[in-house]
Every structure is written in structure tokens, then in C-alpha cells.
């Protein structure tokens, strides 16, 4: 009796919180679409930057240095008279390539180790979990600095560094998912019906474990792009005059007193890209959770 009363009161207390319609609802519905559209445009820009700008991102023109944004130069020009819009457009390919490349490294090794940990012996599970702990005990930026000290600056090296730092992220998700699926009834039934271990693994376990990857991965690509831009800003990634967004921001720091446009546009490009991946990833996550629960 008291429980019923309490339940009713809880429902009453929850009601105003649940009634969310109007602007907020519309925003939540349309934001993932906008994010997906932005990422699609970004991909097109990365694949064929020439279609979006005719200016050469490397062409210097000292006479036209630090021109404010206008009809001739949409985003203005930098210290060496290079067109900022062209540089931002051409920069998309670096951020996307390094971000996706390092995420791929994290996914491949994370999935392999996570499956091993989830399926094999307790001892191996323990060892792999501690390995994940060791990797995640290093702050990402500093781990990347160590890698660069050993291997030198460059795009591939920071992709490797950021990729290694992300292995535990996917490893832990895959391990948890594997343990969940391993004990599920349909896997037990497959074994009872006499399917081989390999067949059960390929037909039932793997597909169910891997569905979580795109969801986690989408948000994660945003994180890697953020990390990569920071490392480039420090001068550990692609070197000037490469039109990479982080490198552009490092160069713009010196002319901050006189010009805002060389730093505002590349920074906004990074931020919008990261926001888009986060929003899209979170929307995928909500759908994913709605389906599994």
C-alpha cells in the first residue's frame, strides 16, 4: 500500500521532468542530422579540397600579408600572405586522416586484446586488464611526446602515439561486451546444437561484440582529432608550412596582436569537427542503448 502511494508520488514528481517538447526536443532531433551533414561536407573537403577553393594554400604573397577577411580572401590572409580559407580547407584532410588513422589503430588492437581478455583464461584477462591500466596511466600528450622523442616528429608518429593511448578505451568496451555475449542464451544454444567453436564465434559472438564499436568510435574520432591538433600545435606533428589546423594556430600566435582571423578560423574548424563527431556519436549511442535495453 505504502509502495503504491510512493510510486504514485514518484510518478507525479517525475512528470514535469518528462514533459520535454518544443524547442529542446526539436534541437535534439535535428542536431545529429546537422552533425552528420557537417561530417559529410568535411569528408568531401578532405577528399577534393580543390573543388572548394581555387587558391593555393602554400602560395605566399608578402604584399598581401594579414589582409582582413573580405571578398577577395574569405577568411583573410596570414602573416605570409597565404589565403586562410584555402589553408583551412586543405587542412581538413590532415585532421581527418590522422584522427581516423589513430582511431583505427586503437580499434584493431583494442578489439583483439578485448576479445582475448573476454574469452580466454582468467590469468590472461587479468594480464590484459593490467596492460590497459598501464597504458592509460600515461597522460596522452606526454606519451606522444615520448614517442616523438624516440621516433621524431611527424604525422605517422603522432597517429601511432594517439592510437596506442586509445587502445584501452576500445579494449575495455569489447571485453565487457564479450563477457556479456559469451554467457548469453543464444551462444549456449549454438554450442548445444553442436556448432563448432569457430562457427559460434564468427556467427554469434563477433557480430554482437562489434556492434558497439561504431558507436564508441564516432565519439572517439572527435577526441583523437582534438588530441592530434594539440600535438601539432606543440610542433610534434606535421611541420610548417603544412596547412594543418594545429600548426596554423601555432603560427598565428605570433600575430595575435594585429590579426584575429588566422587563429579564429582554424580553431573554429577543429571545434566544429569535434562537436559534430560528439553529437553524432551520442545520438548513435542513444539509439544503440534503446535497442539493447
Amino acid at each position: 500500500m505504502t509502495d503504491t502511494l510512493l510510486d504514485a508520488r514518484i510518478a507525479a514528481a517525475e512528470a514535469p521532468a518528462r514533459r520535454r517538447a518544443g524547442l529542446g526536443h526539436a534541437l535534439r532531433q535535428s542536431a545529429p542530422l546537422a552533425a552528420a551533414a557537417f561530417i559529410a561536407v568535411l569528408a568531401a573537403v578532405a577528399i577534393a579540397p580543390e573543388l572548394f577553393t581555387r587558391a593555393d594554400p602554400l602560395a605566399e604573397d608578402v604584399m598581401a600579408a594579414l589582409k582582413a577577411p573580405g571578398a577577395e580572401h574569405l577568411f583573410g590572409t596570414d602573416r605570409l600572405g597565404r589565403d586562410v580559407f584555402a589553408r583551412v580547407v586543405h587542412g581538413a584532410q590532415y585532421s581527418l586522416a590522422i584522427g581516423l588513422g589513430s582511431a583505427a589503430i586503437s580499434v584493431v588492437f583494442g578489439v583483439a586484446l578485448g576479445l582475448l581478455a573476454g574469452l580466454r583464461s582468467r590469468l590472461l584477462d587479468e594480464a590484459i586488464c593490467r596492460l590497459f591500466d598501464v597504458i592509460s596511466s600515461f597522460p596522452g600528450v606526454l606519451l606522444a611526446m615520448l614517442v616523438v622523442t624516440f621516433l621524431g616528429a611527424g604525422m605517422e608518429n603522432i597517429a601511432v602515439a594517439v592510437g596506442v593511448a586509445g587502445i584501452p578505451k576500445f579494449g575495455r568496451v569489447v571485453r565487457a561486451q564479450t563477457q556479456l555475449v559469451r554467457d548469453a542464451d543464444y551462444v549456449t544454444h549454438a554450442v548445444i546444437y553442436g556448432r563448432s567453436r569457430l562457427a559460434t564465434f564468427a556467427a554469434h559472438l563477433l557480430p554482437n561484440v562489434l556492434t558497439a564499436i561504431p558507436v564508441v568510435g564516432t565519439v572517439y574520432v572527435g577526441t583523437t582529432i582534438l588530441a592530434v591538433s594539440g600535438l601539432s600545435f606543440l610542433g610534434l606533428g606535421p611541420q610548417p608550412p603544412t596547412p594543418e589546423w594545429g600548426v596554423m594556430l601555432a603560427e598565428s600566435r605570433d600575430v595575435l596582436r594585429v590579426a584575429w582571423w588566422p587563429s579564429v578560423f582554424p580553431g573554429a574548424a577543429i571545434t566544429l569537427t569535434v562537436i559534430s563527431f560528439t553529437v553524432l556519436g551520442n545520438a548513435l549511442q542513444r539509439r544503440f542503448e534503446g535497442r539493447t535495453s
Binding site: 510512493l6 508520488r9 514518484i10 514528481a13 517525475e14 521532468a17 520535454r20 517538447a21 518544443g22 524547442l23 529542446g24 526536443h25 534541437l27 593490467r130 596492460l131 591500466d133 598501464v134 592509460s136 596511466s137 600515461f138 597522460p139 596522452g140 600528450v141 606526454l142 606519451l143 611526446m145 615520448l146 616523438v148 622523442t149 624516440f150 572527435g222 582534438l226 591538433s229 594539440g230 600545435f233 606543440l234 610542433g235 610534434l236 594545429g246 594556430l249 601555432a250 598565428s252 600566435r253 595575435l256 596582436r257 584575429w260 587563429s263 579564429v264 580553431g267 577543429i270 571545434t271 569535434v274 562537436i275 560528439t278 553529437v279
Partner: protein, 310 residues
């Protein structure tokens, strides 16, 4: 419930942390030896002066077997001896020790600010109308997605170059700490506020909040005393991640604002291939991270009765 299981869990957590710290030292050792080329060349970097190779060989015990070198390496790190920087010709501990204070100051100020901002944002907006939530979550998303160096540059532009309120660079007084701390705090605050508000919104739907309302407590009191306390628990586990992020972010922030500190030391060491210095900073950061998360986990175990009961 007796204190036994709690003690056992604390002991297990401590043992794991020691294992992880030892693992990070071992990883460093393996990485040094797995690299192509001889270890003398790696440690010497671009340097070449008479007696250098002999000094390296003597200090790292390169004439001995690999297991002996490994034991020696672990023992040295355990006694806080990070060797000598061959570039600066100075013990690494001295170099790092002299520059660690400005970085700790920056990271601590940013951490405290992030905490205050996140708690304020979450407490004020959790479970409120769609407008407040929409605005708050948008601001948080932007803060969490913007690179820390871009935030720093924007702050410099607005408050140093245009308004001239704060100095452009350096670390002379409290004024030079304000902008770097804000820049470093905002991304962390954004993420923390997101987590905290979600936890608070779940807590607001709990029966004990209804009970508190039924007792006639005011909304502010309920939010601060009951909801925040309850929701802060899951956020505590983020503390370790936060400290790691602040340390890494401090390196970048220091570069934007031209602040002295570990960032400048490390970046310089990376560019001059000063392996002992970089190794020391990385291991130090890993130790701080492990120690902090262990401490937080133990605190978490101690303050959350539900975990003790299991």
C-alpha cells in the same frame, strides 16, 4: 558490516596500483631497448663530446647483462633517481624539480576552477526547463570540444590584447595565472558538468528526494545537501582522468601563454632528444596519475556505503 572486506579491497587496490606503476617503468625499459639502434646512441641523441659514451655506459651499467640492467633501472627509479640529462649536463631530478612548481600551480588552479564551474553549472541547471538545459549543455559541449590552446588564444585576444587586463605571458604574479587557469579549466569543466548533471538528474528522480520534498525542505537545500552529495560519488571516479588531462593540458597551455614550467622543459627535451628528461617527466606524470586515482578510489570505497556492503 565489518571493516574487513573494506580493508581487503583497499589493499587489493593498492597492490594493483603498485603493479601498474611497476608496469609503466618496465614499459619504459622495454621501449628503450626495443628501439632500433644501440641504447648509447638513443640516450646521446644528437650530442657528441668526449667522455659522453663512457659516462652513459657507466651510469646505465651497459656492460652488464640485460636482467641486471633492468633490476638496476627499476631500483634507480624507485629511489627517485632519474639519471643525468646529457644535453643540460645536470641531474634530471634538479631540472624537473626546479620547474615543477609553476606547473603544479597552474594544474591545481585549473582543477579547482573546473570543479567549481562544473558543480555550479550542474546544480543550477539539472532538471530545469528545456531552455536552461539546452543553453547549459550547448556551452558544455563547446567547452569540451574546443582545443585548450584555441581557448587560450581567444582569451589572450580578448583580455590581454584588447582589454589589457592581464599580461600576455610569463608567470610573475597571480594576474599571469588567471588566463592560463581559465583556459585549462574550461574543457575539463565542460566534461565534468555533463557527467555531473546527468548523475544529478537521475538522483532527482530518486524516492529519497521525494521524501525530502515531502518534509518541506527548500529546493536549494535539497539540491546541495541531498542531490549533489549523491551525484558527486560517480563523478569522483573521474578525478584520476581529470588529473591526467590537466597535466597533459598544462604542457599545451604553458606554450600558449609562454609560461615557464614542466611544459617548456619537456618540449625542449623532446626537440633536443634529451631522453632522460622526457622519460622522467612521463614516468612522473604516470605515477601522479596512478597515485591520485588510487587515492580517489579508496576515498570512494570509504564514503560510499553501498560498495562496502557488497
Amino acid at each position: 558490516m565489518s571493516a574487513r572486506p573494506l580493508l581487503r579491497r583497499v589493499a587489493a587496490r593498492l597492490a594493483t596500483s603498485i603493479l601498474v606503476a611497476w608496469g609503466s617503468v618496465t614499459t619504459a625499459f622495454v621501449a628503450l631497448h626495443a628501439l632500433p639502434g644501440k641504447i648509447e646512441d638513443i640516450l646521446a641523441g644528437d650530442l657528441e663530446y668526449p667522455g659522453l659514451r663512457e659516462a652513459i655506459a657507466a651510469e646505465w651499467g651497459l656492460d652488464r647483462s640485460l636482467p641486471e640492467q633492468y633490476v638496476d633501472f627499476v631500483a634507480r627509479i624507485a629511489s627517485c633517481d632519474f639519471g643525468v640529462s646529457y644535453v643540460l649536463r645536470q641531474p634530471v631530478v634538479e631540472i624537473v624539480g626546479s620547474q615543477v612548481w609553476p606547473t603544479v600551480q597552474l594544474a591545481a588552479a585549473a582543477g579547482a576552477l573546473a570543479l567549481v564551474l562544473a558543480v555550479l553549472a550542474a546544480t543550477l541547471t539539472a532538471g530545469r526547463g528545456p531552455l536552461a538545459r539546452g543553453v547549459a549543455s550547448t556551452v558544455e559541449l563547446v567547452c569540451a570540444s574546443a582545443p585548450v590552446f584555441w581557448i587560450g588564444i581567444l582569451l589572450l585576444m580578448a583580455f590581454s590584447f584588447t582589454l589589457r587586463w592581464f599580461p600576455v605571458s610569463g608567470a610573475q604574479n597571480w594576474k599571469s595565472l588567471v588566463l592560463p587557469a581559465v583556459a585549462l579549466a574550461l574543457p575539463t569543466a565542460g566534461l565534468l558538468a555533463q557527467v555531473l548533471r546527468e548523475a544529478m538528474e537521475k538522483t532527482l528522480e530518486q524516492p529519497f528526494i521525494v521524501t525530502a520534498r515531502a518534509r518541506g525542505l527548500g529546493e536549494t537545500l535539497i539540491r546541495v545537501r541531498h542531490v549533489l552529495r549523491h551525484a558527486a560519488l560517480p563523478a569522483v571516479t573521474l578525478g584520476g582522468w581529470m588529473i591526467g588531462g590537466l597535466l597533459g593540458g598544462a604542457v599545451i597551455t604553458e606554450k600558449v601563454f609562454g609560461r615557464p614550467g614542466l611544459g617548456a622543459v619537456t618540449l625542449n627535451a623532446v626537440l633536443t632528444h634529451d631522453v632522460p628528461v622526457v622519460l622522467a617527466v612521463v614516468l612522473l606524470a604516470a605515477f601522479i596519475h596512478v597515485a591520485a586515482s588510487t587515492l580517489l578510489d579508496v576515498v570512494y570505497l570509504a564514503i560510499d556505503p553501498r560498495l562496502r556492503a557488497q
